[in-house]
Symmetry: C2
Subunit: 335 residues, 2 copies
């Protein structure tokens, strides 16, 4: 097979079938996908289902710590996991620019398969469209996913309560600063690495430790600031953060300071914010720290009612600073 995607790969005929067989099926191979039905057919033995979708347009397509394919699997797995559900099945839909390299596509597809495998999910249906050169920038991927909602949990953005402790599972801003520095060739790329990871096994561990967790959200576009503002609004509470306690890598701190950015607003792809009643916070923190994806977990704040629906930061120098919902143009195509 020539190494270049052509329009004929998207026309639903011989070349499409060859691409599907030689690239997608080679890696995604599983009994449900292999039936090649118009829609995948799966047996369901539970009552409450989680269903979500995300399109990925990240630029550059390959970055330190991952690529668009790994990101597409992790993003959807995480959206299901943070709802208190076990991710089970994904679909993947590719929009590819004419002229794209088939070996790069294969590398992306292999990452997706590896990541799905690690997360314990199957990719069971897909779609491939090829568009003329210039109609899309390289490759965009959509993943949708379904999962089984755990029966004993009620994790929801509206459940944050006064006294809850806010925990994150590690350092902030790693993904966003990796993409930003790679895109702008700032010479800092070597030190930075995306945190892109599937968090479902971490979430399982947390729920096992304490099934009464109030809120879990992954802090992607808009960073921790966007997520906490949404929770503050939905739960009608104030969230007070401690600047001293925010876990931030030295290299990320350096890059954000150089660019005049605030790590609270930078995207993560392997970080979540958890709201737990104070009495259970240490227990949850401990299991997080014992998980490979939570070794830098930290308590970063607490829920109060003092200011209504606000998020604020107790700064290192002893001041208070409001952390608003992000507004205006952030970095586009971060995910």
């Amino acid at each position: 097979m020539n190494d270049t995607i052509t329009l004929s790969h998207g026309s639903g005929g011989v070349q499409t079938n060859r691409l599907i067989n030689e690239v997608f099926f080679k890696y995604f191979n599983n009994d449900i996908l292999n039936q090649m039905n118009d829609s995948a057919q799966v047996d369901i033995d539970f009552k409450k289902l989680a269903f979500t979708t995300d399109s990925f347009v990240v630029n550059p397509i390959f970055f330190n710590g991952g690529n668009i394919g790994k990101l597409a699997v992790c993003g959807t797995v995480n959206d299901i996991a943070v709802s208190g559900a076990k991710p089970l099945y994904l679909t993947s839909a590719f929009i590819i620019e004419e002229g794209f390299s088939i070996s790069k596509l294969e590398e992306i597809v292999k990452s997706m398969a590896d990541e799905a495998n690690k997360a314990g999910v199957k990719i069971i249906a897909g779609d491939t469209k090829v568009v003329e050169k210039g109609s899309v920038d390289g490759i965009f991927i959509n993943t949708s996913g379904i999962g089984r909602i755990y029966e004993n949990v009620n994790i929801n953005c509206a459940n944050a309560a006064v006294g809850d402790v806010v925990i994150v599972n590690g350092t902030l801003g790693d993904h966003g600063m990796t993409i930003m520095c790679a895109r702008n060739k700032l010479g800092l790329e070597g030190n930075l690495m995306s945190d892109c990871a599937c968090l479902n096994s971490l979430v399982d561990t947390m729920i096992e430790a304490y099934a009464g967790i109030h809120v879990i959200r992954d802090a992607t576009r808009g960073g921790v600031a966007a997520v906490l503002n949404e929770i503050s609004e939905f739960s009608n509470v104030t969230i007070a953060l401690e600047e001293n306690n925010l876990p931030i890598k030295e290299e990320v701190k350096g890059a954000t300071e150089m660019l005049g950015l605030d790590p609270l607003y930078i995207a993560n792809e392997g970080k979540l914010c958890v709201f737990v009643p104070e009495a259970y916070a240490q227990r949850v923190l401990n299991v997080m720290r014992n998980h490979p994806l939570g070794s830098d977990a930290a308590i970063i704040g607490q829920v109060t009612r003092e200011l209504g629906q606000k998020v604020y930061l107790n700064t290192v120098v002893g001041g208070k600073r409001l952390v608003d919902m992000p507004s205006g143009i952030q970095l586009p195509r971060i995910c």
Copy 2:
């Protein structure tokens, strides 16, 4: 709200939320979507689920008989329906070019809501990405969907059997020729209209008339030729078509002849091929003809074993012509 999509609409902050509320929620409004969870949560009271995905990149975005939004709902609804399932829930993910018109977006979203409403499905989760001008051509939409597989049916591409009668629900090539003539400004646009439609109610009627239907497939990219070749391969049978019986509109026939194209290879977006044992064919044909989306239904061929995995046409002039799997570049961005 200004009428132009900006990068800030995709940044996950204030402007994203406003767009979601003022455009998407305004039309898609339903109790599950409104909970705004990271993943939608739905109650399931059945055992076998259908799950599918499709991305839509059609050009032009608006065409006679529909637009990219209507197409995105119909396409996924149909993929579920032809599996012998009842479509229930969709997700929708938008990739929008910076500078796109918000009022056009609203028109697209309204079409999606109208079509979902007619088909009896709810759009319960979504995603919005905005990319820089030139990184995508206008707007691309992905829809994924889930449905309940009917317990009493076994509809599958591998089930075609010798003696089965092949029925289509109406005229061939309407969608593809509409798009092709509109794109190339051939002056034939006025006479042509896409057949874009949700076929789930038609499929329900057919299954009600005869639950033992062997195969249903919608004939989209690659047309009837691609679908029948796949069925021939999966079921290991020969499919003999009668050229005389192919329902084709005069204006489509005229346009295909002018362009040297074969209507069997042209995409449809509201047409399906059905394989029924001969004894039940008339019953199924009758209920199809009584349905608004099947008034031009016709028997176009029959399953044999004479040539192995082949599709052929008994031509008007008394010859036999092989109908191969389409190969090479068809019209890109037909759906």
